[in-house]
């Protein structure tokens, strides 16, 4: 079964500069992905980047992944 750690690893390996916080039960996952590369991209483009990092796994191993995508600046201003 896929673990949150697996998904975190796959995204961080393949999406340069990304940091992932993730939770999940093996079927449904919720992730916060922070990446400077998201800057200037709309939500669809950002999600596509994450899907790209996960590749074929989205078709087979990951049933449901809920995503929040932020740049480091956006995250800082939310926490500020």
């Amino acid at each position: 079964m896929v673990t949150p750690q697996d998904i975190k690893g796959w995204i961080e390996e393949n999406l340069a500069g990304s940091r992932v916080e993730i939770d999940g039960d093996g079927h449904h996952f919720e992730a916060l992905i922070v990446c400077p590369g998201f800057s200037g991209k709309n939500r669809i483009q950002r999600h596509q980047m994450v899907y790209g990092a996960l590749g074929d796994r989205m078709k087979s191993e990951i049933h449901a992944l809920s995503m929040k995508t932020l740049t480091p600046e956006e995250q800082a201003s939310l926490e500020g």
């Binding site: 939500r43 999600h47 809920s66």
Partner: protein, 103 residues
């Protein structure tokens, strides 16, 4: 008509169309339920396509949009996103503007 052509026609002939699992009254998945609830709350009329009724459409829409998951929302022929994006846009007010043709 190929499945891609059928999907193209659905997307072009309906102002707002949601590809989902189940129907707005009987959704079969939490994410699809959320997306259709949000659209209902916006008060817009929308078409919906139950991908569970047709496996070709279920796979075809993923290729068409280059997006691996369901639900998928189209507004005036443009792919808007899945359930996370629809929710974020609803919370920020962007969805309502887009539906009204202001965005």
């Amino acid at each position: 008509m190929s499945i891609q052509e059928q999907i193209k026609e659905l997307v072009e002939s309906n102002e707002v169309v949601l590809f989902m699992k189940g129907s707005p009254d009987f959704p079969q998945c939490g994410f699809s339920s959320r997306a259709s609830q949000i659209l209902k709350q916006c008060g817009t009329h929308f078409a919906s396509v139950d991908v569970l009724q047709n496996n070709e459409v279920r796979e075809g829409i993923k290729q068409f949009s280059n997006w691996p998951t369901i639900p998928q929302l189209y507004i005036r022929g443009e792919f808007v996103g899945g359930s996370d994006i629809v929710m974020e846009m609803f919370e920020s007010g962007e969805l309502q503007k887009k539906l009204a043709g202001e965005a």
